[in-house]
C-alpha cells in the first residue's frame, strides 16, 4: 500500500531503506540505505558491477527489490501497483546512457511524447513547448524534424534530456550520461546537467565514473561498495573518510583521469 507523509517536502526527495537485490547466487545490494537530498545534485559512484544502475532502475520502479523500501517524495513505492508506479514516475525523469530516443519518432515527437500522452494541448501549445524545451538544452526547432539516427551522440542526449524534463519532474536521474563521449561533449553534457538542475530546481541523481566532473559539479556524493553505501556526504568529505576503500577508489580514479 502507498502512503504519503504530509511533511515530505522537508525530508529527502528519495529515501532508500534496507534495499536488498540479488540475481541467483549474486547478491548485489545487501541492505543499502541512502537519502537523496532535495534540490541538490547527487553523484552515485562505485566500481563496475556494484549496482549503481540497478539502484536507479529500482528507484524508477523498473526492477522490484527483494527487500527494503523506496520512498519518493514521501510516497512509498509499491512495485506491484502499476497505477502507483505511473503516478510516482510522473514526478521523475531519467536520461539513459545512450539517450533511448524512440527510433520511429522524429525529434519533435520524441520531445512532446509525454506532453501528448498526459496533457491535452493544442498544436500551437505543443509547438511552443517543444521550442522552449529544445532551446533549454541548446537546440533549435531546425532539429525537430530530424530522426534520432541523424543526430550525433551529444545531440541525442540533449534531445533525451528535453524529453525527460517535458513534464517538469521534480527529480531527474542520469545513468552514466557522459560515457562514450569526447571530452568537449562530456563537459557540455555536465554543464547542461548543472544548468538544467538549477534552472528547474531539480533534485538530480547522476551515475558517473568521472571523478574530475564529480568534484566540480556534485553537491553530494554516495559511494557504493559490497552492496552498501560506504560514504554519503559532500564531495570534500571523501578525503576525510576513514574508509580505505573510499579513499582508494577516489585516488585511483583521480589518477586514471589525470593520466587520461
Amino acid at each position: 500500500m502507498t502512503q504519503a507523509t504530509s511533511s515530505y517536502k522537508d525530508g529527502p526527495a528519495i529515501s532508500v531503506k534496507g534495499l536488498e537485490k540479488g540475481f541467483g547466487k549474486f547478491q548485489i545490494h545487501k541492505g543499502l540505505d541512502l537519502d537523496i537530498p532535495r534540490g541538490k545534485v547527487t553523484y552515485i559512484m562505485g566500481g563496475s558491477g556494484c549496482g549503481k544502475s540497478l539502484l536507479l532502475k529500482q528507484v524508477m520502479g523498473f526492477i522490484r527489490p527483494d527487500k527494503g523500501t523506496i520512498q519518493v517524495n514521501g510516497q512509498i513505492m509499491d512495485h506491484k501497483d502499476q497505477k502507483n508506479l505511473h503516478e510516482i514516475r510522473k514526478n521523475m525523469g531519467i536520461l539513459f546512457q545512450h539517450g533511448a530516443l524512440f527510433d520511429s519518432l522524429n525529434v519533435y515527437n520524441n520531445v512532446c511524447f509525454s506532453l501528448k500522452e498526459h496533457l491535452n494541448l493544442s498544436k500551437k501549445e505543443l509547438d511552443e513547448n517543444v521550442e522552449n524545451l529544445l532551446e533549454s538544452v541548446g537546440l533549435s526547432m531546425e532539429h525537430s524534424l530530424k530522426m534520432p539516427s541523424e543526430l550525433s551522440g551529444g545531440q541525442r542526449k540533449r534531445v533525451a534530456l528535453a524529453r525527460a524534463i517535458a513534464l517538469k519532474p521534480s527529480i531527474m536521474m542520469y545513468d552514466e550520461p557522459t560515457t562514450g563521449l569526447d571530452p568537449i561533449t562530456t563537459m557540455m553534457v555536465t554543464n547542461l546537467i548543472k544548468d538544467v538542475s538549477s534552472r528547474h530546481n531539480l533534485t538530480s541523481i547522476v551515475i558517473s565514473h568521472d571523478t574530475h566532473v564529480v568534484f566540480t559539479v556534485a553537491e553530494q556524493i554516495a559511494f557504493i561498495k559490497d552492496g552498501v553505501v560506504r560514504y554519503a556526504g559532500p564531495p570534500k568529505g571523501v578525503f576525510k573518510s576513514h574508509d580505505p576503500d573510499v579513499r582508494e577508489f577516489y585516488s585511483l580514479e583521480e589518477r586514471y583521469n589525470t593520466e587520461d
Binding site: K57, M60, G61, F62, Q82, L85, H86, R89, K90, M92, G93, I94, F96, Q97, H98, A100, L101, F102, D103, F113, S114, E117, H118, A160, R163, A164, L167
Partner: protein, 257 residues
C-alpha cells in the same frame, strides 16, 4: 526434471499476465487508433504480396494433386468443391498464419526486442506511458483483425489459381469447377476458416509482442526473441488447428461429394 515441469507453467502464467495487461490497454485504445492503422497496414496490407504468391502456388498444387485422386475414381467434376473446401477450412488460415508470422510476427518481435535492448521501453515507462497500451494492444488487435481478411483473400486467389490449372492445364470444364465450388462451400466452412484465422492472427501478434517484450539486454537476445516468436507461433498454429478442426462445431453432412 522439476524445472522441465515448471517452465511451461511459468511461461503460461507470464503470457496470461501479458495478455491481460494488453486487454487493459483497450481502455486507452481511442488514443492509439493511428498506431492501430499503421500496424494494420504493416501486418495486413503489406503481407498481400507474400499471401498472393503463396495462394497461387498452394491453389495450383492442390488442384493438380486433387485431380489425380479424383480422376482415378472418375470424379473430375468435384475438383472445384475439393479445392474450395480445403482452402477455406484449412490451407488459407494455416498458410496465412505461418506466412504472416514469418513476415510480420518476426518483425514485431525484432522491433520490440530492439526497443527493450536500447532501453526505449524503459524510457516509455519512465515517461508514464504503459508499453502495453502503446505498443502491444494496437499490434495484437491489428494482427487479430487482419488475418481473417487475408484468409478470405488467400482463398479467392487460391481458388482462381486452381481454376486456371483445372481449365488450362488439366482441360476440365470451368463452369463445373465454379458450380461445384459454390455448391460445396457454405457458411460453416467460411465460419470455420475465419475463426481459425482470427485465432492464428491473435497467436502470431501476441507471441511476437511477448517474446520481444521479454527479450534480454544484449544484441543476441533480439535474434533469440525473433526465432522463438516464429517457431512458437508456427507450432501453436499447427497444434491449435488440429484442436479447432476436431472440436469446432460444424455439420459434416454439408460436404457434398
Amino acid at each position: 526434471m522439476l524445472s522441465f515441469a515448471i517452465s511451461p507453467i511459468t511461461f503460461l502464467g507470464k503470457l496470461s499476465i501479458f495478455i491481460w495487461n494488453s486487454v487493459l490497454g483497450l481502455k486507452r485504445f481511442h488514443k492509439r487508433i493511428p498506431i492501430f492503422f499503421q500496424q494494420f497496414d504493416f501486418i495486413g496490407v503489406q503481407s498481400i504480396t507474400v499471401v498472393t504468391f503463396s495462394a497461387i502456388f498452394i491453389g495450383s498444387v492442390l488442384a493438380f494433386q486433387t485431380y489425380v485422386a479424383l480422376h482415378y475414381f472418375g470424379m473430375d467434376g468435384y475438383l472445384g468443391s475439393s479445392v474450395g473446401i480445403a482452402l477455406m477450412r484449412e490451407l488459407a488460415p494455416v498458410f496465412c498464419g505461418i506466412m504472416v508470422a514469418g513476415r510480420a510476427g518476426a518483425a514485431i518481435a525484432a522491433e520490440i526486442a530492439t526497443m527493450r535492448v536500447t532501453e526505449q521501453i524503459d524510457a516509455m515507462e519512465a515517461l508514464g506511458t504503459d508499453p502495453h497500451d502503446y505498443l502491444m494492444t494496437p499490434r495484437i488487435l491489428a494482427g487479430t483483425l487482419s488475418l481473417p481478411l487475408l484468409c478470405i483473400y488467400f482463398t479467392v486467389i487460391g481458388c482462381a489459381a486452381g481454376y486456371f490449372i483445372a481449365t488450362v492445364v488439366l482441360s476440365t470444364d470451368g463452369a463445373v469447377y465454379w458450380q461445384q465450388l459454390g455448391w460445396a462451400v457454405d457458411f460453416n466452412d467460411v465460419w470455420q476458416g475465419l475463426s481459425k484465422a482470427f485465432i492464428f492472427g491473435f497467436f502470431l501478434s501476441v507471441l511476437g509482442c511477448f517474446y520481444g517484450y521479454h527479450a534480454g539486454s544484449n544484441a543476441e537476445s533480439v535474434g533469440v526473441a525473433t526465432n522463438k516468436a516464429v517457431v512458437t507461433t508456427a507450432l501453436w498454429i499447427l497444434f491449435s488447428d488440429y484442436i479447432l478442426t476436431a472440436y469446432l462445431p460444424y455439420d459434416p453432412s454439408n460436404i457434398i461429394l
